[in-house]
C-alpha cells in the first residue's frame, strides 16, 4: 500500500488474475462446448445402450425384459423418456416389489386402484412370492381384461393405448390391464347428413362406440368384425365389417389384403385409407361412400357391401359403391314409395342441371339464340345489351363468386353465418345485377346450379360435380351445343370406365341384364316388390323378403 491514492483506471484483471472478461468468455465457451459434447455423448450412449439391448432382444424389439424390476423400470423409463404424462406407481405385492405404469388422462385410475392395487397390496401376506404371472391373474387381479405380454413393443403400445402395465420383481413377463377411459364426444346428430324422418344418431370418434351402434341394429351372428392396426406410428385400429353369408366371395379377401398392404406412418382420418382403396387416383368421383350414419352402413352391409370403420374418425367407409348410392338418401325409404320415386327422379334431373346448366346457357346465348322463343330472346338480348362481359366470362365470374361464397360459408363461425347468408344474397343476387355486371338471367341460372349441387345427398359427390362444370363450360364456349353433347358423351364414357372392385361405377343404371335391380334405382318401388338383393353385388343369399330361411 505504498502507492499514492490517485485516480487511475485500471482493468480488474490487472489486480485479480482470474477475472479477465476475455478469459471468462473463453472459459464460458469451453464450458458450453463441453456441455454440448456431453449431451452428444449422452445421446450416443443411449443409442449404444439401445443397440446393446437390441442385440440381446429378439428382432424388432427395442430391449428384453429381465427378472429384475429395477432394470425393467429403467428400460421402460428410457423407452418412454421425457413423456411426463406416464406415471409410475410402485408398491409391494407380498414380498416382491411391483410397479404400475400408466398414462394419466387415458387410464381410469379408480379402476386401477380397485382392481389392481387394492388386490395386490391388501390381500397378500408380506412374505408371499410368485413364480408366474398367471398365478396373479388367475387368483388376484379382478380386472375384466388382462393380457400377459412379453414383447416390449406391445408393452409400450399398450401403455400408450391407455392400458396399464404391471411389473413384478422376479417375473420377466409383464401384465397389461385394460383400463382405458378417455374423454369422447357423445353420440349426437350427424353434422352433414341429417334427415328429416330417419334415426338421428351418428358415429362419433370412438371405434368401440361405433361398433356398438352397428351391433345394436342387427343381432346377426354372421356380421363379422375384423380389427386391424394400420399406420406404423399411429397404430390406428381399423374395423372391417361384413355379413359373411351375403357378401360376394373373394371381395372380403381382396379388401383385407389391400388394407394390410397399406404402408403409411399415420392414419388420422378416413380419407387416408379411402385413397388407398381407390384404383383411379385422379378420379374426382368418390369411390367409397363415407357416411356418419349407422343405418346407412347396416343397410349397405345387408346388400352385400363391406364397411370400414376407423378409430378417431366419425366417417365410416362403405365399399363397393356406385353412383346410385350417392344419389340415395334415407328419406327415400322413410317416405311413401310414390313420393320417394319422384324425389329420386328429380335428384337425377338435378344432377344434370348441376353440371350442364351454365354450359347450356352459354351455348344458347352465344351460339344458338334461335332456340329461344322470340319474346324471351328479345328480352334476354335487351338485358345483355347493358352488361359488358361476353357470356363465358360472366359465367366464370359468377361461378367463381359462387365457389368463394361456398368456401366462406364453411369457414365462418356460427355467429356470422346468418349474416353471411344475407351478404351473399345481396352481393351475388341483387347488387351484381344492379351494377350491370351480369344480367339477371345468369344469376338465376347460377343460383339454380348451386341449389342443384347442394341437393345432392352426398357432399363429396356434389364437389365432384363442381369439378365437371368447368370443362362443360369450356366445351360449350368453344363449340356450342355440339361441344356440350360431345362433352356429355365423354363424361358418360368416363363414368362407365370407372370400376371399384370390378363393380361398374354406374351400378345397374342402364344395364339390361340387371333389370331386376332397376326397382330400387331411379325409382323406389314399394317394399313388397324389393324381394331380392341387388344382383350386381353378387350376393350369395339373394332372398330378402319371404322365402325360406
Amino acid at each position: 500500500m505504498d502507492k499514492p491514492l490517485g485516480f487511475r483506471f485500471h482493468k480488474l484483471s490487472a489486480v485479480q488474475a482470474n477475472s479477465s472478461i476475455s478469459e471468462t468468455c473463453h472459459r464460458l465457451a469451453l464450458l458450453q462446448k463441453q456441455v454440448q459434447q456431453s449431451k452428444e455423448i449422452e445421446a450416443a450412449i443411449s443409442v449404444a445402450v439401445k443397440d446393446l439391448r437390441k442385440a440381446m432382444a429378439p428382432d424388432g424389439q427395442p430391449f428384453i425384459f429381465t427378472n429384475n424390476i429395477e432394470m425393467n423400470e429403467q428400460l421402460v423409463r428410457s423407452a418412454l423418456s421425457r413423456c411426463d404424462d406416464i406415471k409410475y406407481r410402485s408398491f409391494r405385492a407380498g414380498k416382491a416389489k411391483a410397479l404400475l405404469v400408466y398414462l394419466s388422462g387415458l387410464t381410469d385410475t379408480s379402476k386401477l386402484e380397485k382392481t389392481v392395487i387394492e388386490c395386490l397390496t391388501g390381500k397378500l401376506e408380506s412374505n408371499e412370492t410368485f413364480g408366474d404371472m398367471n398365478e396373479i391373474t388367475d387368483l388376484l387381479i379382478t380386472a375384466a381384461n388382462v393380457t400377459v405380454v412379453e414383447k416390449p413393443t406391445e408393452v409400450i403400445t399398450n401403455i400408450l393405448k391407455g392400458n396399464s402395465l404391471l411389473l413384478i420383481d422376479g417375473i420377466s413377463d409383464a401384465l397389461s390391464i385394460d383400463a382405458a377411459k378417455y374423454e369422447k364426444r357423445q353420440i349426437s346428430k350427424s353434422e352433414n347428413e341429417d334427415v328429416s324422418k330417419g334415426p338421428h344418431d351418428a358415429f362419433n370418434e370412438t371405434l368401440s362406440d361405433n361398433l356398438a351402434l352397428v351391433r345394436r341394429r342387427t343381432k346377426d351372428p354372421d356380421l363379422k368384425v375384423e380389427i386391424f392396426e394400420i399406420g406404423s406410428r399411429t397404430q390406428t385400429p381399423v374395423a372391417l365389417l361384413y355379413v359373411d353369408d351375403i357378401v360376394k366371395p373373394g371381395l372380403v379377401d381382396e379388401i383385407r389384403n389391400q388394407l394390410l398392404s397399406i404402408d403409411i406412418d399415420k392414419v388420422i382420418i378416413a380419407a387416408n385409407i379411402e385413397e388407398f382403396l381407390s384404383n383411379r387416383i385422379w378420379n374426382p368421383f368418390p369411390q367409397a361412400l363415407a357416411t356418419e350414419r349407422p343405418d346407412k352402413i347396416v343397410a349397405g352391409l345387408y346388400e352385400g357391401r363391406i364397411s370400414i370403420i376407423i378409430d378417431n374418425s366419425p366417417s365410416a367407409l362403405m365399399l363397393p359403391v356406385s353412383l346410385q348410392d350417392f344419389m340415395q338418401s334415407v328419406d327415400d325409404y322413410t317416405e311413401r314409395p310414390a313420393v320417394a320415386s319422384l324425389t329420386r327422379f328429380s335428384r337425377y334431373v338435378s344432377l344434370f342441371i348441376a353440371v350442364f346448366l351454365p354450359a347450356i346457357y352459354v351455348s344458347i346465348v352465344s351460339y344458338h339464340p334461335g332456340m329461344l322463343p322470340a319474346g324471351l330472346a328479345f328480352s334476354i338480348a335487351e338485358l345483355r345489351a347493358k352488361t359488358p362481359f361476353p357470356s363465358l366470362l360472366e359465367a366464370f365470374l359468377m361461378e367463381g363468386l359462387l365457389e368463394i361464397f361456398q368456401e366462406a360459408i364453411v369457414r365462418l363461425p356460427q355467429k356470422l353465418a346468418a349474416a353471411a347468408g344475407v351478404v351473399g344474397a345481396l352481393v351475388i343476387g341483387t347488387t351484381v345485377v344492379e351494377a350491370a355486371l351480369v344480367n339477371a338471367l345468369l344469376v338465376v341460372v347460377i343460383a339454380l346450379t348451386g341449389l342443384s349441387t347442394f341437393s345432392m345427398p352426398s357432399y363429396t359427390f356434389g364437389m365432384a360435380l363442381r369439378f365437371f362444370r368447368i370443362p362443360a363450360l369450356l366445351a360449350s364456349s368453344v363449340l356450342g351445343l355440339y361441344g356440350v353433347a360431345i362433352f356429355a358423351i365423354v363424361m358418360i364414357v368416363f363414368l362407365c370406365s370407372l370400376r371399384t372392385y370390378d363393380e361398374s361405377y354406374l351400378g345397374d343404371l342402364f344395364d339390361i341384364t340387371l333389370i331386376a335391380d332397376w326397382k330400387d334405382g331411379v325409382v323406389r318401388l314399394p317394399a313388397k316388390f324389393l324381394t331380392s338383393r341387388p344382383k350386381r353385388l353378387g350376393p350369395k343369399d339373394r332372398t330378402r323378403l319371404g322365402g325360406e330361411d
Binding site: P369, I380, A381
Partner: protein, 410 residues
C-alpha cells in the same frame, strides 16, 4: 419415341407434360369461337319487305334514291328494294306519352337478295340475324316484275330461315308495312305474325297452308298456291283475302267471300261465322256459328266425265238473330229451315269459288294431286291435257248442317 425417353429422366417427362398442357391451352384459347356471337351483338330481323324499286323511287321525297340505299354493281339491275325491320335492343324513353318504337328499318336496292343483304351490313353495326324472321311482305308490283321465285330464292336456300315464317302480298308499298309500329307496343314483325294466328276463327283470312314452308312445297310440286293479302291503309294493317298464284305468277285476288269458299273447301277453320237471311224475314239476318267442320273433296270418273264431289258436314250454334220478331227456338221446322239456308249459302259459296278459280286457271284445292292420287291410271292418260280439262270439271256439293245449340239465352 415414347420408349426412348428414360423413365428415370424426370425433367424430360415434366417438360413433355408441360408442353402438351400449354399446347392444349393454346388451342382452347385461340381456336373455337368462330361462331360465338353474343345475343346482343346480333341485329334481329323481324320483317323483310320487298318492293319494286322503281315505284319506291318515284314515291320517295328525294329526287333520286339515297346513296345509302344503293351500291355499285357490275351485274344485275336495281329492280327490287329490300327493307329490313330491325329490332332495337336499347329501351328508349317514351316522350310525352308516345309509345317508343321498338324497331327501325334499313333499306337497299338491287336484284339478288343476298347481295342486298350483305351490302346492308354497311348500314348495320351488328350482323344481321334472320333466325327470328317473322314475316316476309312482298308488294304486288314486285311480284309482277319477275314472278315470285327470284324474290324468295334467297329465303329458301339459307339454312338459317324458318319454315313457318309468314308471307304476305300487299297491293301497296311493303316498306310502309315494315315501318309500321303497332299500338300494342310489340315489334312489328311479332304483330304481323300474330295477325295470322287468328285465321282459325276468321273465315276471311286463309292461314292453314299459306306460310312460307307450304309455298315452297307447292312450288316444288308444281302446284298452285295462295298467299295472304295484307292491306295497309291509313296506318292500319288488315288481313283479308288471298292472292292466287300459278307457276309463280300472280293471277289475281280472291276477295273475302271467295276466301271463305276456299276455306269451306279445305275445312280448316275451327270457328266461323256464316250470316244468312232469315227464312221468314228476308230483310233480317241470322248468324250461324260453326265450330266443327268436316270436308271431303273427292274426284270421280264416270266414263269420260270427270267430276268432283264436295261433302261438307257442319256442326254449329245459332250465333245471333237480328230479327225484330222473336222466333220460337223449339220449332224444329224453323231450325231446319235455318240449316237449309246455311247449307244453301255454303254450297253457293263453294260453287262460286270453284268457278272463279276455273276462270282464273288457278287450282287452289290441288285437284290435280287429288285426281292423280285417286285415279293414277287415268291420270297418266290425261295429264298432258289437264290444263284444258280443268276448267270444265263440275263440282257437286252436298252440305249437311246441324244446329247443336241455340246459345245461352234465347
Amino acid at each position: 419415341m415414347l420408349s426412348r425417353i428414360n423413365k428415370g429422366n424426370v425433367t424430360a417427362r415434366v417438360w413433355r407434360i408441360a408442353a402438351a398442357a400449354i399446347g392444349i391451352c393454346a388451342c382452347l384459347l385461340t381456336t373455337g369461337c368462330w361462331d360465338a356471337k353474343e345475343m346482343q351483338d346480333r341485329n334481329f330481323i323481324l320483317v323483310a319487305a320487298i318492293d319494286d324499286a322503281d315505284i319506291v323511287k318515284k314515291s320517295e321525297s328525294e329526287k333520286q334514291i339515297a346513296q345509302t340505299q344503293t351500291f355499285v354493281q357490275k351485274q344485275g339491275t336495281k329492280e327490287y328494294m329490300l327493307s329490313l325491320q330491325v329490332l332495337k335492343l336499347a329501351k328508349t324513353e317514351s316522350k310525352g306519352g308516345v309509345q317508343a318504337e321498338k324497331t327501325f328499318v334499313i333499306s337497299n336496292t338491287g336484284k339478288p337478295m343476298f347481295e342486298m343483304v350483305r351490302d346492308m351490313l354497311g348500314q348495320s353495326s351488328k350482323s344481321l340475324y334472320f333466325e327470328q324472321l317473322d314475316a316476309i311482305v312482298i308488294s304486288e308490283a314486285a311480284v309482277k316484275k319477275n314472278g315470285l321465285r327470284p324474290i324468295i330464292d334467297f329465303f329458301r336456300r339459307d339454312p338459317e330461315m324458318r319454315s313457318r315464317t309468314k308471307i304476305f302480298i300487299t297491293p301497296g308499298e311493303a316498306k310502309a308495312i315494315a315501318k309500321y309500329s303497332p299500338p300494342t307496343g310489340e315489334p312489328g314483325g311479332v304483330y304481323l305474325n300474330g295477325l295470322v294466328r287468328n285465321h282459325k276463327k276468321n273465315i276471311h283470312v286463309g292461314g292453314a297452308r299459306t306460310d312460307f314452308g307450304y309455298i315452297i312445297q307447292a312450288m316444288d310440286n308444281d302446284a298452285d298456291y295462295a298467299i295472304l293479302r295484307l292491306d295497309y291503309v291509313d296506318n292500319v294493317p288488315k288481313l283479308g283475302g288471298l292472292a292466287l298464284f300459278k307457276h309463280d305468277i300472280l293471277m289475281g285476288y280472291a276477295d273475302e267471300y271467295l276466301t271463305r269458299g276456299v276455306k269451306f273447301t279445305y275445312g280448316t277453320e275451327k270457328s266461323a261465322v256464316i250470316a244468312i237471311k232469315c227464312p221468314e224475314h228476308p230483310e233480317q239476318e241470322i248468324v250461324y256459328e260453326l265450330f266443327q267442320h268436316d270436308t271431303k273433296l273427292i274426284p270421280h270418273i264416270e266414263g269420260d266425265a270427270i267430276y268432283f264431289t264436295l261433302d261438307i258436314t257442319m256442326q254449329g250454334n245459332i250465333g245471333e238473330i237480328d230479327c225484330t220478331v222473336k222466333h220460337d227456338m223449339h220449332d224444329f221446322s224453323f231450325l231446319h229451315s235455318i240449316e237449309q239456308a246455311v247449307a244453301q249459302e255454303v254450297s253457293q259459296n263453294a260453287q262460286d269459288t270453284w268457278k272463279f278459280q276455273q276462270q282464273l286457271g288457278v287450282d287452289i284445292p290441288n285437284t290435280k294431286a287429288r285426281f292423280k292420287g285417286r285415279h293414277p291410271f287415268e291420270w297418266k292418260k290425261i295429264k298432258d291435257r289437264w290444263e284444258e280439262i280443268y276448267p270444265t270439271i263440275p263440282l257437286i256439293t252436298s252440305v249437311n248442317v246441324n244446329i247443336r245449340g241455340i246459345g245461352e239465352h234465347d
